[in-house]
Assembly symmetry: C2
Homo-oligomer: 340 residues x 2
C-alpha cells in the first residue's frame, strides 16, 4: 500500500483593513495589488477589522458598519477572488476577542506604552491622556488576529514592524507557558513600493487629509484630482528644467504607468526642460482612467448584488471562524481552561 | 377573560470567586452565607472567575484549573443550591471576553490607573512597572461579567466599591452611544459583617498568609487552628481582666456562636477577669466543629461524585451563556456590528 505524498500546505498570510472609508490608490499600491498576487501562492485571510476600527471610532459606529461592505466591494473590484482568499469580518469571530483577552496577560502596560507604532498613533489621533484602553491594548488584538490563523506572513508597512515584534513576544511567552509551540511566530512582509503620497504632495494619502483618489472614483473625479496633482513648483515655464523629486505626477506614473520605457523618456525630457506639466498630467490622467475604469465598472456591477457580497462575507467569516475557534480551543486548553 | 397578574422578575445578583484556593471561614462570613440566603429571593449568578484569576497567575495555570472544582465543592457543601443559583465558569463563556473587548474602548487608561481598587491591588501584588495589561484592564472584564447578566446587585466589600462605580461609568457611556438603556446600572451590596481577621489576628484571612480555617478543614485541623487563635496578649493570668478588642476568639464567636446570649455573659466574665482563654477556646472549638462538620461531610460526599459536580458546572454555564450571548448580541448590534 502506498501512501499519498505528504502535501506541504502553503504559508498563511493575514492582512486586512480598518473599514473607516473607501479604499484609494494608496491602498492599491501598498497592499491590494499584492494581495491579488499572493492569493495564488498563499493561504490568504483578509480581515475587515471593524472591531479594531471602533477603538477610535466609538463616536461614529455607523461609519464602520457602512464601510465594511464598501471595502469588501473594493476588494472584489480589484480582483481579490473569494474562492482563493478568505475575506472575514473581525467582529463576527468572538474567538478573536477571546484570544485578545488572554494575550492581555502576556504583555505589560509599560511594554504597550513603549510600542513605537502605538506611541505614534496616539500622537496622530491627539488622545493625549485620554487614551482609550482598547487603543493602548490593540497590539494584543492584532496578535490575536495574526495568531488565530497561525499566519506566518503579515504584509505591513515599515511603521508597523513594532507590531509584528510585539506579536512575536506574545507568541514566545505563550508557547513557553504552554510548554509547546502552539502559536506561530510571524514575519513582516514589507512591500517594495512604499507609501504613495497624496495628490497634494503630503507624505500620506489619507481620507482625512482629503488628498486621495478612491478606487471607485468617477471619471470626472479622476480628472479633477489629476488637475490638482502636485508637481514641481519651480517648473514655471515649459522650457525650464523640471524636477522629479517629490513630483507626485511622476511618482504616480512610476507606480502605475504600464509603459515604463516611454515614462523614462518622458522623465528625461522633463528634467532637461521643454516638457510642460500639462503633457505629464495628460499621460497620468490616461493611465489612471484606464486603470480605474474596469475596477469602477466591476465595483458598480457588484454593488447591485448586495446579497452576493453578504454571502461572500458570511462564507469567508464562517470558514475563518472554524480556524480561529480551533486555535482558541488550543490556547484555552494550554491555560488549563477546559473542563467538559 | 382575566389575565394572570404580571409577575415581576426578581433582581439579578452577580457574585463569584477567583478559584485560586479552597474557600475559608472568611469567605463564609463575607459572602457564602449570604448567597445561601439570596438564592431564595434573587436570580443569583455565581461565577468561578478562572479567566480573571489568570490575570496574576499565568505562572501557575494548573492551580486555577484545579481550584474550579474545589471551589464548586465548597459552594455546594455550604448549601448553595444549583437549582436556585446558577454556577458558571467564566472562561467557558466567550461572550464575556467579547464584552470586555468592546468595553475597553469605553474607559481610558488614565481612568483605570486612577481606580483605587486596582491601585491597591497593584501594590499588594508587587507588580510595580510590570503590570500585566490584563490586570490593569480587569475592571472592564468585571463590567462585562456584571452587565452580561444585567445584574442590579453585586455583593462586594467596601474596598470593591470603586469597581462598581467603574462598571456604572461604562454602562452609562455605552447606553449613551447606543441611545437607549441596553445595559443595567448596578449597586454594591455591602455585607453587614465585614472582613473576618485571620487566626493570627491579621486584618485579613488569606491563604497566602497561612492564617485561614478552610471550609473543608478536618476536625484535627480545626483543633490545631483554634489553639493558634490570637486572643489578648495582656491576659496573662485567669484572674486578670481580658480585652475583647482584636481578640480573634471572640470575633469568631460573634460571627458563629448560635447562642449569642451565653456569649454575652462569657464576654462580661472575660472582661471582669476570672475566665481563662482555654475556656473561650473550648467554646470556639465546639462551635466551629459543629458548624463545619456537616459542611465537611457534604463536601466529602460530593467529592466522590465528580460527574455530578461537572454536570452542575456544565448546566449552569450553559444557562448563563444563553443570557450573556443575548447581551453580547444587543451590545454588538448597538455598535453596528451585526451584518447577517
Amino acid at each position: 500500500m502506498s501512501l499519498p505524498a505528504k502535501s506541504t500546505s502553503p504559508a498563511v498570510i493575514l492582512t486586512g483593513d480598518r473599514p473607516t472609508g473607501p479604499l484609494h490608490l494608496g491602498h492599491y499600491v501598498g497592499s491590494l495589488r499584492n494581495r491579488v498576487t499572493y492569493q495564488h501562492d498563499y493561504k490568504q485571510y483578509i480581515m475587515l477589522a471593524d472591531s479594531q476600527a471602533l477603538t477610535d471610532n466609538m463616536d461614529d459606529t455607523g461609519k464602520v458598519h457602512r464601510n465594511v461592505v464598501e471595502v469588501a466591494l473594493d476588494y472584489l473590484a480589484v480582483g481579490i477572488d473569494p474562492t482563493k482568499s478568505t475575506i472575514l469580518i473581525q467582529s463576527q469571530i468572538p474567538e478573536l476577542a477571546e484570544l485578545t483577552f488572554y494575550y492581555l496577560n502576556l504583555v505589560t502596560v509599560a511594554r504597550l506604552e513603549r510600542n513605537p507604532t502605538v506611541k505614534a498613533e496616539i500622537v496622530l489621533r491627539g488622545f493625549e491622556r485620554d487614551i482609550p484602553a482598547g487603543f493602548l491594548t490593540y497590539p494584543a488584538s492584532q496578535a490575536a488576529d495574526i495568531t488565530a490563523f497561525k499566519a506566518a506572513l503579515v504584509p505591513v508597512g515599515e511603521d508597523q514592524i513594532p507590531m509584528i515584534e510585539q506579536t512575536n513576544e506574545i507568541v514566545r511567552r505563550f508557547n513557553r507557558i504552554a510548554n509547546r509551540d502552539i502559536l506561530v511566530e510571524c514575519k513582516a512582509l514589507v512591500p517594495e513600493i512604499g507609501r504613495l503620497p497624496g495628490i497634494d504632495g503630503k507624505a500620506k494619502m489619507s481620507k482625512s487629509l482629503g488628498n486621495t483618489i478612491n478606487l471607485g472614483a468617477s471619471a470626472a473625479e479622476i480628472t479633477a484630482a489629476v488637475k490638482k496633482v502636485y508637481t514641481d513648483p519651480l517648473h514655471l515655464r515649459v522650457e525650464d528644467p523640471g524636477h522629479l523629486e517629490g513630483n507626485v505626477a511622476f511618482i504616480y506614473l512610476d507606480a502605475f504607468d504600464p509603459d515604463q520605457a516611454a515614462l523614462a523618456e518622458m522623465k528625461a525630457h522633463y528634467v532637461r526642460g521643454g516638457l510642460g506639466d500639462s503633457v505629464v498630467k495628460k499621460r497620468l490622467e490616461l493611465v489612471l482612467q484606464e486603470m480605474l475604469a474596469p475596477i469602477r465598472a466591476r465595483r458598480e456591477e457588484l454593488a447591485k448584488d448586495r446579497g452576493y457580497i453578504m454571502q461572500v462575507l458570511k462564507d469567508g467569516t464562517a470558514a475563518a471562524r472554524e480556524v480561529a475557534a480551533r486555535t482558541a480551543d488550543e490556547v484555552k486548553a494550554a491555560l488549563g481552561l477546559s473542563y467538559f
